[in-house]
């Protein structure tokens, strides 16, 4: 079993390559994915190896990228569509919500839709408008889709392959500001359902702890891990969970942790209202009502359109905001100390 050190972006590239080698029905399509290898070079070198037919530079139209992917799925292909940036997925929303998500259900299982939609998402890179969105909650509220995100090279490598191999449509959210994050990757063949449990189905306990559980995903996992590290000095033991599967949520893993800690902090960059944190808070409150010592705490982006680059540092939860959330969950002095619960 070989392993290699690579970046998160490189691991996605390696995973795509592997998937294409193993199954010639896997094709990649999107804007600038071919000759250029994508604006983030995630598909670099793939067109050279697999040709223009399997790595297709498409015209500039996201609805068509997804709509033709649906047709390709009818024809037995497994399209991997790249949406160049989070903010450009909305023109494809209709095809995703009304077609990709429903076709299997509509046809009582006759038509499988093994489409993978790769979406670089989130902020932290100082980009202009529409390049830093976190649209995942639109898709986790859409029945018929699976939604995953990755936070490290190993998962990036494994989960992209699992997503492609899945017969269900999968949104694969890539934390673009972690593309350069390096790590060791075991290059073993993925275990496919039903042969074994897939990484993409389960949350991962990043570090164990006793006092508080932090749930994060994508780009915020490393911030949560840093928070856990920092809190140690303060005598606070934090369990960090990387959700990985955003839909369905692996509530078992989260509930197990909260049963132990009694305190939950959820962190994401997306807006608080209606974000994934709401579902996790509600779902965990349902499951752990009697063990929760404090209401689940959400540390998220504000309910504002993603702000101008010079302001994003305030919007994206950072170490301090997460630690402040931990303090809230622990009923320690915090930014809202003394604020009535109902304001």
């Amino acid at each position: 079993m070989t392993s290699a050190r690579m970046t998160l972006g490189g691991a996605i590239n390696a995973g795509l390559r592997k998937a294409m080698e193993l199954d010639d029905r896997v094709i990649i399509m999107g804007e600038d994915v071919g000759k250029l290898g994508g604006v983030y070079r995630i598909t670099e070198g793939l067109q050279d190896t697999f040709g223009e037919r399997r790595v297709m530079d498409t015209p500039l139209a996201e609805s068509a990228i997804l709509g033709t992917a649906v047709g390709l799925a009818y024809a037995g292909y497994r399209p991997v569509c790249e949406i160049q940036f989070d903010g450009f997925i909305y023109p494809a929303f209709d095809q995703i919500v009304s077609q990709v998500a429903r076709l299997h259900s509509r046809t009582a299982g006759a038509v499988k839709v093994p489409i993978t939609i790769r979406v670089p998402f989130g902020g932290g890179i100082g980009a202009v408008e529409h390049h830093s969105d976190s649209p995942e909650a639109y898709f986790t509220h859409t029945s018929g889709l699976r939604v995953v995100s990755v936070s490290n090279p190993q998962d990036a490598y494994t989960v992209i392959q699992e997503a492609i191999a899945s017969d269900d449509p999968v949104l694969y959210f890539e934390p673009k500001r972690r593309y350069h994050l390096k790590g060791n990757v075991e290059l073993e063949p993925i275990k496919l359902y039903p042969a074994g449990a897939r990484s993409m189905d389960s949350a991962r306990v990043v570090s164990e702890g006793r006092d508080v559980t932090i749930v994060a995903y994508g780009g915020l996992v490393s911030v949560a891990a840093a928070a856990a590290e920092a809190a140690k000095a303060d005598g606070v033991s934090i369990e960090v969970i990387d959700l990985r599967s955003l839909s369905p949520i692996d509530f078992d893993t989260v509930a197990r942790s909260v049963t132990k800690t009694g305190r939950l902090v959820i962190a994401h960059e997306a807006a608080e209202s209606g974000g994934l944190g709401a579902e996790i808070a509600a779902g965990i409150t349902e499951r752990c009502f009697y063990t929760l010592q404090h209401a689940p705490v959400r540390v998220t982006g504000f309910d504002i359109p993603f702000p101008a680059p010079k302001l994003e540092k305030h919007h994206i939860p950072d170490l301090d905001r997460i630690l402040d959330g931990v303090d809230r969950a622990l009923d320690r002095p915090n930014s809202l100390s003394g604020v009535g619960a109902q304001t």
């Binding site: 046809t107 009582a108 018929g144």
Partner: protein, 393 residues
């Protein structure tokens, strides 16, 4: 004579502008409304083999699909269907095009193409399932090379284009056909489908039935120009055909299929026809269009004209007409019986196909729902007020 009189979309001032000249697309008609045969040098070769027997068979299909349509409308009026979208008037466009297809081709339609489905071999009862409300799809698409009706206007044109790309990758000579309406041409998806198809020279035929109306909106709301003109702008051949002339429709569809099979890429066909009935059984077209318009088109009825032509060649007579009508009645009876016998779906079906692989969220909800239903078993004898009230809701 009256052949030239078929209503075509209006051409407005912008046409006359010097800076955007373009030649009008051709208009293909091979049987005039009077039943008279017209010759068209370009398209004659494509129907050289269509003999009177074949035309009679097309006639028979057209009569049957109209009969299905009438019966389904009646079933809706009688409360057996929730809704029905009549195709009355569009039989030639649908039968003429669908009958030219090979089994290996694949069709992606909107909701009004029941005649296309019939020609693809879909059992007639299956046409009713979605309208009776028992399923979201009436059949398995792969069994007939035809996707089930698409409700989102225009979305299926992209699916057809993608399927065609798949055939191109496969090295197959199968063709994808997208059916859509005049209203659909305004949706971004349809233009994007034309862009992708042209860019990749995909083997797809865009078959637009311009039936003059999108619910209450006349086609001039969508376009002051002829819809077929879109084709050239997107870089593909376009042809406008008398959509009420089954022979002409056959010819232009064959030409387009032929091009696609030979690697020549997509074609845009505008079949000029008319929606003689309401948009659906829920619609009242007298609110927005004149009886005179309907009368005008009734004179251009696709079945009447084929009837006239076949009688003129001695292929059809009163006895033949009666015989076909009887066969159509048999189909109608089958349709009705199948409709009435259609079982309601089981509640368990709710969760069955949302995903193709196990899903913890669905499993949990299914479990909870089963527990909920279980509460009502033996509810009559129960004293629990909640369970007891299930009947009242």
């Amino acid at each position: 004579m009256d052949g030239d009189d078929v209503r075509r979309p209006q051409v407005t001032a912008s046409d006359q502008s010097g800076s955007a000249e373009h030649a009008p697309a051709q208009y293909v008609q091979l049987i005039a409304p009077s039943g008279e045969r017209r010759r068209h040098p370009d398209f004659e070769p494509f129907i050289a083999d269509v003999d009177d027997a074949q035309l009679r068979s097309l006639y028979e299909d057209m009569v049957i699909v109209r009969r299905i349509d009438t019966e389904a409308t009646a079933l809706q009026r009688q409360g057996e269907l929730a809704l029905w979208p009549p195709l009355l008037g569009q039989e030639a466009a649908q039968v003429g095009s669908a009958r030219t297809l090979e089994p290996r081709d694949f069709v992606f339609t909107s909701y009004r193409e029941n005649a296309v489905a019939y020609c693809r071999g879909v059992p007639v009862v299956d046409l009713l399932r979605v309208w009776r409300g028992t399923a979201q799809s009436g059949w398995n698409p792969f069994a007939f090379g035809m996707a089930t009706p698409q409700v989102i206007i225009g979305a299926q044109t992209l699916h057809a284009t993608g399927y065609a790309l798949g055939m191109q990758h496969d090295g197959s000579d199968a063709v994808a056909v997208a059916y859509f309406g005049d209203g659909a041409t305004s949706e971004g998806d349809v233009s994007e489908a034309l862009v992708f198809a042209a860019s990749f020279a995909a083997p797809v035929v865009f078959f637009c039935q311009n039936n003059q109306w999108a619910i209450s909106e006349p086609v001039r709301v969508q376009s002051k120009h002829q819809l077929v003109d879109r084709a050239a702008g997107f870089g593909m051949p376009g042809v406008q055909v008398d959509g009420n002339d089954v022979l002409a429709v056959t010819a232009v569809t064959r030409e387009a299929l032929d091009r696609a099979r030979r690697g020549g890429g997509p074609t845009f066909i505008e079949a000029v026809t008319y929606r003689m009935g309401p948009h659906t059984t829920a619609d009242d077209p007298t609110r927005y269009r004149d009886a005179s318009e309907v009368a005008h088109w009734r004179e251009r009825d696709p079945i009447a004209r084929l009837d006239a032509y076949l009688r003129s060649t001695g292929t059809l007579d009163d006895a033949g007409v009666a015989e076909v009508a009887q066969r159509a009645d048999v189909v109608a009876a089958e349709l009705r019986a199948g409709c009435l016998a259609m079982p309601d779906p089981d509640a368990a079906a709710l969760f069955s196909h949302v995903y193709s692989e196990p899903h913890t969220g669905i499993d949990r909800q299914r479990d909870h729902f089963q527990r909920y239903l279980a509460m009502f078993e033996g509810a009559q004898s129960s004293t629990d007020s909640v369970a007891g009230s299930k009947v009242s809701s």
